[in-house]
Amino acid sequence: MKNQHLNQGDMKRSNLTPLIRVENLSFDYDKKGPSLIHNISFSLNEGEVTLLMGASGSGKSTVSLCLNGLYPEAVEGYSEGNIYFRGQEISQFEKGELNQQIGIVFQDPESQFCMVTVENELAFTMENIQTPREEMASKMDDVLEAVGLTDLKERPIHELSGGQKQKVALASVLLLEPELLILDEPTANLDPVSSLEFVELVNQLQKDRGMAVFIIEHQLDDWISFTDRVLALSREGELFADGSPDHVFQKYEKRLVSEGVHLPKDIQSSSLHPATRTTDDLGGETVSIQNLDFKRKKKTILSEVNFSLYQKEFVAIVGENGAGKSTLLQVMAGILTPNKGNITFLNQPLKQWGEQSLRQKMGFVFQNPEHQFITDTVYDELAFGMKLNGTPEQEMKEKIDELLRHFQLQNHLWSNPFSLSGGQKRRLSVATMLDETPELLLFDEPTFGQDAKTTEELMSMVLELKNKGTTIVFVTHDMDLVDQYCERTFVLNKGKVAFQGSPDELWKKEEVLVEARLRLPYRIRKQRTEAGEVYDLVR
């Protein structure tokens, strides 16, 4: 099936003139040093699905914005080389004309709308391209039906879920009736089931409308089945692979891994094996929660939560967006106070802990590392906790040196934390929690939107801490990660603990998985497909 599809792609390519032709494109924000994107050339063909991979920070998004002519003008950057749309140089198009041919859905669901309601946002697009008013209503209804949002027409966008927001973004772009649809990591901020729904929707729309699709992504798995061609961008901003998926993954496997790209799990499946889930050598109890209730403005967020956590344990809290996962983590960290119930931390009620000693024994890593930075340099950031605790100067210096080495931040000692790269920010945000080895370390979706290399680095640091005796708690959507690393997992559904136990047990409980909108990890899906069981959560 897949091969057949590929052959079609090959045929399309040879017969048609390219929709987009990029020749020797270079781009940078300033003229100093090597450019961000360096001398790349490629074509996108009519009706073809092309996927661009590359580690975060390699300039993937920049390429997409160069294609529709928004860059370099929008950011006052410099570019060289030529881009042709159907044989015509893009600078010859009038302002706004090219944007109608090329629609883009961006990564961040929060910042791609300018109107309050779905209806007005869709109208905005049609007004831009001067659709006559009489035609607007019917066009809007058609597109809403195509993406399955008819019921949400009059809702304010900020009340929708991430998945719904991305569908609104897709709908408003479809109203342009573009020849090329660019998707810039559209599912990076979505939970797994919403993400799969979005991918399938794009697949369907592409089949119905036959437009070319250009996908920028580092989580390839769901896209790869209908991708005709794959491009790969290196950290230096050079294009090093261009061809059919099978060809590229065979030929460039090593290079891709070293570039920090998530390979499709089809290829790396040999290295995917579950954690050895031993519960024998666990230490004493770290946290115990009894009959916990939490309400926000009379709305129950958590109810009747009961569980204990032990030393040397790696636990995942999973569930749909809005199930109360982050709230539970914040209650455990003592930054939210429960309405009912008891939390004991190291055999002492959480309420009785002094703020300072509590923060020494417990760490919390936020989803967005930037939220945690409070000083102007990496050094001060690391020293902050120790200064607060009155650690002697000499000891502090040694500790900071050790942390810098360990987290590979030696060269950035005096950099501003905000100027670091994504991976470096993530590492620093963890390092700031480790001035003393904590007993409990809480993570709120730490691997969201991170590339393979950053995720891998993070996981090895976490495992090291776990082996030292720290209890690790992850709130995550990544079920492969749960399968690979966790001893136990808690499923939250509508504020209640719907399941607790070993992940292996969870994979058998289809009811729980469907209810909480969870996907099976790739390893299990593959096993089941091989055994002939058809398992798909979305339908």
């Binding site: 929008a74 090329i102 007004e127 923060r359």
Partner: protein, 259 residues
């Protein structure tokens, strides 16, 4: 209904009496007009009385504060009349008292007029009508609308930031210096994020074909019809009727000059 009146014209209708009222220093004019505005608000809109009072009441106290201060510190031009009472070094005259009460009533008129506008106007439609009726450039109106969307996000982000700082061991700021330091710590990440988001939205808008040009079609066609002029006439007309009545009864006082 007031909520269906063209927002741009509604704004003008409210601004005219709002500005002109500032010149009348007697008690009768603002009082009569205030009664009219409040009655009009409740007759032609379905704003819950409770909600209206909740917003209005704090301003009553503010207005009383204004009146008290004005009464004590009336400039000599207005402080005619007999001395009512004295304490410490203050002398309260009938003129001062009049000016004070008038100021309070005028402030309440502004508040009532503003509430009538704010509680019955959809911000999106207001912007669209400014663009369609008053030819405000789309760049500006859609810019403001995009900014308006950020308000809830901003609040959420501030909350997260506060929590993150608590995790790092920073408690509540103490003293003025601590507060300034805390403000600086919050401001940088908040600003950094806001700028990044604004940039993203701008790019998303442009990529949907927005050019900032005025040649665009309109989904919500904002018009000015008979009903809108009727609203305008009743708000502005009543104001002049009140002024004329006040003049004929001999109350009217503009900038201290009795007519």
């Amino acid at each position: 209904m007031i909520s269906s009146v063209n927002p741009a014209l509604k704004m003008v209708a409210i601004l005219i009496p709002g500005v002109l009222l500032s010149f009348s220093f007697d008690i009768f004019t603002p009082l009569a007009y205030l009664i009219f505005v409040v009655a009009f608000t409740f007759m032609f809109s379905n704003i819950p009385v409770k909600k209206w009072l909740l917003v209005f009441t704090p301003f009553v106290f503010l207005a009383l504060g204004f009146a008290w201060m004005t009464m004590l510190y009336t400039s000599e031009g207005f402080s005619g009349g007999s001395v009512l009472f004295e304490f410490w070094w203050f002398e309260v005259t009938t003129g001062g008292l009049m000016v004070g009460i008038s100021l309070a009533l005028r402030s309440l008129c502004f508040v009532a007029l503003s509430l009538m506008f704010i509680l019955t106007t959809d911000s999106t439609k207001f912007m669209l009508s400014l663009m369609q009726q008053f030819k405000l450039p789309p760049k500006l109106t859609f810019g403001i609308l995009a900014g308006y969307r950020f308000l809830p996000t901003f609040k959420h982000e501030f909350e997260v930031l506060r929590q993150a700082h608590r995790i790092r061991g920073i408690g509540r700021a103490k003293g003025v210096k601590g507060r300034i330091e805390q403000f600086r710590r919050y401001a940088i990440p908040l600003m950094a994020n806001a700028i990044r988001k604004a940039e993203r939205v701008a790019i998303a808008m442009e990529s949907k074909g927005f050019t900032g040009e005025t040649d665009r079609t309109h989904y919500h066609h904002m018009t000015i019809g008979k009903k809108d002029w009727a609203f305008f006439a009743s708000i502005v007309g009543t104001f002049f009727i009140v002024i004329i009545t006040s003049y004929q009864l001999g109350y009217l006082n503009i900038f201290g000059r009795q007519f």
